[in-house]
């Protein structure tokens, strides 16, 4: 069953490239949409325990892949389904040239295969390969339009990615030495007591920090998010950074447990990311850069929650991971809508768009409030869980910082709302219309998810507890 999640998109990718040039973009768009929605549905069914287990053992033994689909993977798959759907829709309506759209969807499909792989592997080296595949697809996606800024963003991302590669591979070498292999099963056998293996995993984690965009390696995040075409930013911010960095952290961290020095480091990295992201987001004029710094900040929250090491912490981290993917994708989709109609992402030049673009305004307000942690939206619950996890395990100082940073988050999002949607309408923007239906669809859907999850939270709590 698990390998189907990799093989079917792969088949789709192959077919997509064999199609004739004329109608390519349309067909691939529908394929991509269907795949993402199907994935979201399947993984949601799996999480609720409603999926019947099928046979097909024969094929699996022929292929010989070692993939395991468990609840944790299903969360990532579901998130990916939602975010991917938004990205596909945004791309369909903002990328003008058919050729560019086709390339975009191709690489998106490839990233889909890669992230599905990331979610289901049981081996550190295989994990690295899929992370690298997704990263390569991201480099190329950033350069979709080949404009000036995109090269710089892609270059910075590439350089830091290579450093992360070096760290992860050195860790693999160390693990080869001390544990005789890199699969999770082998590592579990060796880890208690083996200092070299422990060092290896810590180095691997440092590589993952770079991929996740945490301080002090967050340098590439603003440039990459801002320089990419907004449809790509939806995908990048919503999933790629989360999957390659944070999700892998959630997978790998239980191997060594979060105690002692490791816990301290994680807490410090997390809290620093929260602060750095929030503070640097305050002074931004460019909408996408502000959202990028906000992402760094939210990643910090997730890592701080993970650092605690209790079940509540992991639960909070996972929930916030899902929430952040939803509202960050939505905010970027809103940015795409605004950019489409206004022609710029400079917030100074905008204003009063709420009258002209009511749906965009409302949905972005919902997403902003959710990020800041206002009840009864979903963001409130996940932030609350994180702060609770920190407090209950005795890290009072960090909990206080988390709360203060929430205030900062509210601050910069209010600024964002005010400067873009409220106030006077500047001269040149008098005849802006609302964005087209295709762009509205994903944002409305994501907003619905945000509100729905927020209201129905106690119900989801049980689901997530598994």
């Amino acid at each position: 069953m698990s390998y189907l999640l990799i093989l079917i998109p792969f088949l789709a990718l192959v077919i997509a490239n064999l199609l004739p040039k004329s109608k390519r973009a349309e067909i691939v768009f529908w394929m991509g949409l269907v795949l993402f929605v199907a994935q979201a549905k399947i993984s949601a069914l799996y999480l609720f325990g409603l999926l019947p287990s099928t046979g097909l053992q024969g094929i699996e033994s022929i292929l010989g892949f070692h993939l395991v689909l468990d609840n944790l993977a299903a969360v990532l798959l579901f998130t990916l389904g939602l975010t991917g759907m938004a990205a596909v829709l945004v791309g369909r309506f903002t990328i003008k040239r058919g050729d560019d759209r086709f390339n975009f969807l191709n690489l998106l499909l490839l990233s889909l295969i890669g992230i599905n792989g990331i979610s289901m592997v049981k081996d550190l080296f295989t994990l690295y390969i899929f992370i690298e595949a997704v990263a390569l697809a991201s480099f190329i996606l950033i350069m979709l339009y080949r404009d000036k800024a995109s090269f710089e963003g892609a270059l910075k991302y590439l350089i830091l990615s290579v450093i992360a590669t070096a760290l992860m591979l050195s860790a693999v070498g160390l693990l080869l030495l001390s544990a005789g292999g890199t699969s999770f099963a082998e590592l579990k056998m060796v880890l208690p007591g083996n200092w070299l293996a422990r060092l290896g995993i810590v180095i691997y984690l440092c590589g993952l920090f770079i991929k996740a965009g945490l301080t002090p390696f967050h340098g590439w995040v603003p440039d990459a998010y801002a320089a990419a075409p907004t449809a790509v930013s939806v995908f990048l911010a919503g999933i790629v950074t989360k999957a390659s960095g944070i999700f892998t952290l959630i997978r790998v961290l239980p191997l060594i447990g979060s105690q002692g020095a490791v816990q301290e480091v994680l807490l410090i990295v997390g809290t620093l990311s929260i602060l750095v992201g929030a503070l640097l987001a305050l002074g931004q004029k460019d909408m996408k850069r502000m959202l990028a710094y906000s992402s760094i900040s939210q990643m910090g929250y997730i890592v701080a929650a993970l650092a605690v090491g209790t079940k509540l912490g992991v639960l909070a981290a996972l929930f916030h991971f899902f929430n952040h993917a939803v509202f960050k994708s939505q905010l970027f989709a809103n940015a795409a809508a605004v950019e489409e109609q206004v022609g710029t992402v400079d917030m100074d030049k905008m204003g009063g768009l709420a009258q002209k673009m009511p749906v965009t305004g409302i949905t972005s307000a919902i997403a902003s409030l959710s990020t800041a942690g206002i009840p009864p939206l979903s963001g409130f619950w996940s932030k609350l869980l994180i702060i609770l996890a920190l407090w209950l395990s005795g890290h009072y100082f960090y909990a206080v910082i988390a709360v203060l940073a929430s205030v900062l988050t509210l601050g910069y999002f209010l600024y964002f709302q005010r400067s873009v949607f409220f106030g006077r309408v500047p001269e040149g923007l008098k005849d802006i219309k609302e964005a087209g239906l295709g762009l509205l669809l994903p944002v409305v859907a994501l907003s619905a998810v945000t509100v729905g999850v927020g209201l129905l939270f106690p119900f989801f709590y049980k689901v997530l507890l598994r």
Partner: protein, 106 residues
């Protein structure tokens, strides 16, 4: 046997560290974009050496070789994509000066 193996490993570790320093230094200090690529390559080669050394010392040459072959494949694709970035950079800015790439500030 254990001692000589230890010495051997230390030598490899030393070479690994030295190559890593060369690559990182090149990456950080250069003005020219092509040298950035050379620095990247040096770093990846250093790590390749380290993985093989670990494989040799622990006796698992087969596993180490499969790792290295995969890494070499990835390395090639990274170099090709980086070359694409550099060529695009060149068509836009008409120079390979890394200083030009400090536009996105803030």
């Amino acid at each position: 046997m254990g001692i000589e193996l230890g010495l051997m490993f230390w030598l490899f570790l030393g070479t690994f560290v030295l190559l890593l320093i060369e690559g990182l230094y090149c990456l950080l200090v250069t003005y020219n974009l092509m040298r950035v690529l050379i620095g990247i390559e040096m770093i990846i080669k250093a790590v390749t050496l380290f993985v093989i050394a670990c494989g040799y010392v622990s006796g698992q040459t087969a596993l180490a070789q499969s790792f290295v072959i995969t890494v070499i494949v990835i390395e090639v694709v990274v170099v090709v994509v980086a070359a694409g970035i550099i060529l695009g950079f060149f068509t836009e800015y008409d120079s390979l000066n890394v200083r030009n790439a400090r536009n996105l500030r803030g």
